[in-house]
């Protein structure tokens, strides 16, 4: 009774084990694409598992447009984007199980899956992790005060507003300038809620600049940078928040407190890749991304387990999560076909001005490797360089007119990689 978080232990002998070539966990923009990628690369039996009742993941609640520009060369809404991927998945003959949640993933690629039609064990030839992310909560941010109703993460509020027609409050303050928060500022305004301001602790915006323009400026919603909520007020329902300016170390500056009456606080202060299953499978995580450390094929440290989308690292555009999914799925198929040779690996590190670089490892000798990276702060006219750590040789170099932490960037390393690499930026 008291075995905390019991997961079934080892008493599995009496349950039959179902087998599939490639199992994709998560049916959002990355997972749908991964299933497609795996089928197109010839995997015979691809199973896509989604915990919600329908495929699409978080796209289903993203009723605004701005999706598909890169994948479909036009901008469409989240549900439309999902619909196109779902149609392709159906055409390609992917098996789909919705309303099914993977509760455990063993180091042996055995999954425990629960669904209304049964609790099952599934052994996968290869697994693609595409579980997405969760939002930082009040507790992770550490906002003191009492515990009233009226505090929502932006994504939960988006679900309640867009999918359940619920008025989450009347007057809101938004903490954090993540994209979902910006989108919700506009959404709530459309629904005749008063958005009293968006407060961002950093000196720059976390979300995309187009969202600042289209969601805040166009609606005269105030945005204050280097400011944060230092206290919540209200015993039963939020009655106000106290905001303050912060110094360079992000510590509140005494005397800058300001009380803003409101009944709702929305939090859009960061996303966390949801890697609980990955950890159970023994996948090594990167402290910089919160996701798996992967090689150029998106394979994790566990053979046959791949990762893509927001569970790997946080994306600003769904299309990139899908592109990653296509690649990860293709590689998963190649893995079960025995096309991927083993080989030793070199490391890819983040140097000056770079928050992280991904993949974190590359097979020695690999060519045309695309490296994703994010910068630590906004800069202009910046050279980004990829250098061999021991040789000091520059293997890729590119000038970016403008770099911001909110936008994921890529740089291509064409020559065969023989040495540990480091990505760095130079103003």
């Amino acid at each position: 009774m008291n075995e905390a978080g019991g997961n079934g232990g080892d008493r599995t002998a009496s349950l039959p084990v179902e087998r599939h070539d490639v199992v994709v966990i998560g049916g959002g923009p990355a997972g749908l694409a991964a299933a497609l990628g795996a089928r197109r690369a010839g995997a015979g039996d691809v199973l896509l598992i989604e915990r919600e009742k329908c495929l699409g993941g978080i796209l289903n609640q993203c009723i605004h447009d701005g999706f598909g520009l890169f994948l479909y060369k036009e901008t469409i809404s989240g549900p439309e984007y999902a619909e196109r991927l779902i149609e392709e998945v159906a055409r390609e003959g992917v098996s789909v199980r919705t309303g099914a949640m993977v509760l455990d993933l063993g180091t042996d690629r055995v999954l425990r899956v629960n669904a209304r039609d049964g609790y099952r064990l599934i052994r996968a030839g290869a697994v693609v992790l595409a579980m997405g992310c969760r939002e930082r909560t009040r507790e992770m941010i550490g906002i003191p005060g009492p515990r009233p109703a009226g505090i929502f993460t932006a994504g939960s509020a988006q679900n309640l507003v867009n999918l359940q027609n619920i008025r989450v409050g009347n007057e809101a303050v938004i903490l954090g300038s993540g994209d979902i928060g910006l989108i919700m500022a506009r959404r709530l305004t459309f629904e005749r809620m008063k958005v009293k301001g968006v407060f961002e602790i950093l000196p720059w915006v976390s979300g995309l600049e187009r969202n600042v323009r289209q969601c805040l400026k166009d609606f005269d919603i105030p945005l204050e940078l280097s400011s944060t909520v230092v206290e919540i007020r209200g015993r039963e329902r939020v009655s106000a928040v106290v905001v303050a300016r912060v110094d360079q170390d992000l510590k509140p500056i005494a005397g800058t407190d300001r009380l803003i009456p409101c009944d709702t606080l929305l939090l859009s202060a960061g996303l966390i890749p949801e890697n609980e299953l990955s950890k159970r499978a023994g996948v090594e995580l990167s402290p910089l991304t919160g996701g798996a450390a992967v090689d150029e094929s998106f394979m994790t440290s566990v053979e046959g387990v791949f990762s893509c989308g927001n569970v790997l690292h946080i994306h600003d555009v769904a299309d990139w999560a899908s592109f990653e999914g296509l690649t990860a799925g293709r590689n998963a198929a190649e893995f079960i076909q025995g096309k991927r040779g083993a080989g030793d690996k070199v490391r890819v590190g983040a140097g000056a001005g770079i928050r992280y670089a991904l993949p974190q490892v590359v097979r020695r000798g690999a060519e045309n490797v695309e490296i994703n990276f994010r910068v630590t702060r906004p800069t202009r006219g910046t050279w980004v360089e990829v250098r061999g750590v021991s040789t000091g040789k520059t293997v890729a170099r590119k000038k970016f007119p403008r770099l911001v932490p909110s936008e994921l960037q890529k740089i291509l390393v064409k020559p065969a990689i023989e040495d540990d690499l480091e990505v760095s930026s130079h103003d």
Binding site: N2, R51, N114, Y119, A149, L160, I166, R167, V168
Partner: protein
């Protein structure tokens, strides 16, 4: 909730009314439900355990921290002798973990010896002083030169314990009424007339277990002997991933003034780890706000005992209040529990100042209350008394074959509602049909763990809202914990 109100309520004369649905009040009413009595429990909040009982360390104390001869000491040790068996009877998650009080250097060893001697005098079984090697064997990762090891200490879910006691009492015929604050009391020759917004009730005897508000309740009956002072204790709670780091509660050597036990680190029955509590006198008996300064202090103090905890994220913080009888200025120094019949109001039993170790002591306090009045009145034990309560099964705790069997029998066990704590729709629906009609989000959380995980309800709240509507609860009636804690402000479009 209305279905529980029978038309005869106003005519019934209750033998005993217990005011306060915390662990003490619920233990009392459960104990009294052994007898052939008409019992009433009145709780002002929308659920049981909404006050002191929900926000504490959940530690089963062995009884070495309390002065020999005191009521605290006697009820603690008596309570220890009952609580494990009771937890089994009621199906409450608990574990006998043992506990360490750790001295970082040799200079604190005498203090450990004092504690041990005090515990020995109180009749605490099995206490021993252990050295560094034994500490790392008993609780790897814990720093310390010497420690007092108490093998009979343990942990229990304090709110589940409270709810289980009330459910057992209700099963044996006790009436449990929520959202029923006592707002007026009329003292009559044959008893007391208690007025609540849910009706007035004539009762022959009253047990005042109103915790932080016990002084105010007593004052309504004209008893002005005591005042309760709230002392706030803030806590942080880690992700379950940290659970493996700590096998048992670890306490520092307590401060000399015995004001509290010091910031300690406690595993919970579900595998999280609690850091805390602080201790600060506050003005307001409802002030359970957390503060930036204390949260920072908790982290640093806890890390000196268990450095490894630094690796794990905190998923929640909260504050509880201690109902003390000692005022912050030190003018009134009453450190013991008050368990007594009022001199001015015969038939009125006051239970005041039940702070730590009240959770462990509650079953013993309940037994004393029953003795105090029962012996005098020749109460008759019911032959049909049911000592047990069937706990709701938890999907997360089932084996693979049990899970497969459940889902095959009822598809709702296959529908996951809370992804962090692995709670199914079957569990949520069962909890929403609880015997007291509690339908608050916090009430559901305490019964199922929905929302207690790392996403803190971000994903499951929208699903729960859908289920609540299907269960007939209108959007306007959805609250976090009753009163004005409404979750939403209506529909967007009709």
């Amino acid at each position: 909730m209305d279905k529980m109100r029978r038309p005869s309520d106003s005519e019934t004369i209750f033998d005993v009314a217990v005011i306060g649905g915390g662990v003490v009040g619920c233990a009392v009413v459960r104990e009294l439900s052994r007898y052939d009595l008409k019992l009433l429990l009145l709780e002002k909040e929308a659920d049981l355990a909404e006050g002191v009982s929900k926000a504490n360390s959940g530690v089963i104390h062995a009884g070495f921290n309390v002065s020999p001869g005191s009521l605290k000491a006697r009820t603690n040790v008596e309570g220890l002798g009952r609580i494990y068996e009771l937890a089994v009877e009621l199906g409450v998650p608990h574990r006998r973990t043992g506990k360490l009080v750790v001295a970082l250097g040799d200079e604190d060893r005498p203090r450990l010896e004092e504690l041990k001697a005090q515990g020995d005098r109180n009749g605490v079984p099995g206490l021993e002083i252990v050295d560094e090697a034994a500490i790392s064997r008993l609780a790897p990762g814990v720093l310390g030169r010497w420690a007092l090891f108490s093998p009979w200490s343990g942990i229990i879910s304090p709110y589940e314990f409270t709810i289980a006691l009330a459910e057992c009492a209700a099963r044996n015929g006790a009436r449990v009424m929520l959202e029923a604050p006592v707002v007026a009391i009329e003292c009559r020759p044959d008893g007391f007339l208690l007025t609540t917004p849910r009706g007035s009730f004539m009762v022959r005897r009253v047990v005042n277990a109103a915790g932080l508000f016990a002084d105010e309740v007593a004052a309504l009956a004209g008893i002005a002997d005591y005042r309760v002072y709230p002392y706030r204790g803030e806590y942080l709670i880690t992700d379950k991933e940290a659970g493996a780091v700590l096998s048992m509660p670890v306490y520092p050597v307590p401060p000399r003034d015995d004001s509290f036990l010091g910031v300690h680190i406690t595993p919970t029955v579900e595998g999280n780890i609690l850091l805390g509590p602080s201790s600060d006198a506050v003005e307001d008996k409802r002030d359970t706000a957390t503060t930036r300064a204390v949260m920072a202090q908790l982290k640093s103090e806890a890390l000196t005992l268990v450095p490894e905890l630094g690796r794990f994220p905190f998923i929640h913080s909260f504050a509880g209040l201690r109902p003390k009888l000692t005022d912050p200025q030190g003018r009134v120094k009453l450190v013991d529990f008050v368990i007594e019949e009022s001199r001015v109001r015969p038939g009125w039993i006051n239970l005041l100042g039940i702070e730590s170790p009240g959770l462990t002591a509650a079953p013993a306090i309940a037994a004393r209350v029953a003795e105090m009045i029962g012996a005098r009145e020749n109460w008759r034990e019911k032959s049909e008394f049911e000592a047990t309560r069937e706990p709701a099964p938890r999907f997360a705790h089932l084996s693979d074959t049990e899970r497969a069997g459940r889902v095959a029998g009822d598809a709702r066990w296959g529908e996951m509602v809370c992804r962090c704590e692995h709670v199914t729709r079957a569990e949520v629906e069962t909890a929403l049909r609880n015997p007291f009609g509690v339908k608050t989000l916090d009430g559901l959380k305490r019964r199922t763990r929905c929302g207690m995980g790392r996403c803190q309800g971000g994903f499951c709240t929208p699903r729960i809202v859908e289920i609540m509507q299907k269960e007939g609860l209108p959007l306007a009636g959805m609250t976090k914990r009753g009163g004005g804690s409404d979750l939403f402000k209506g529909r967007l479009k009709s």
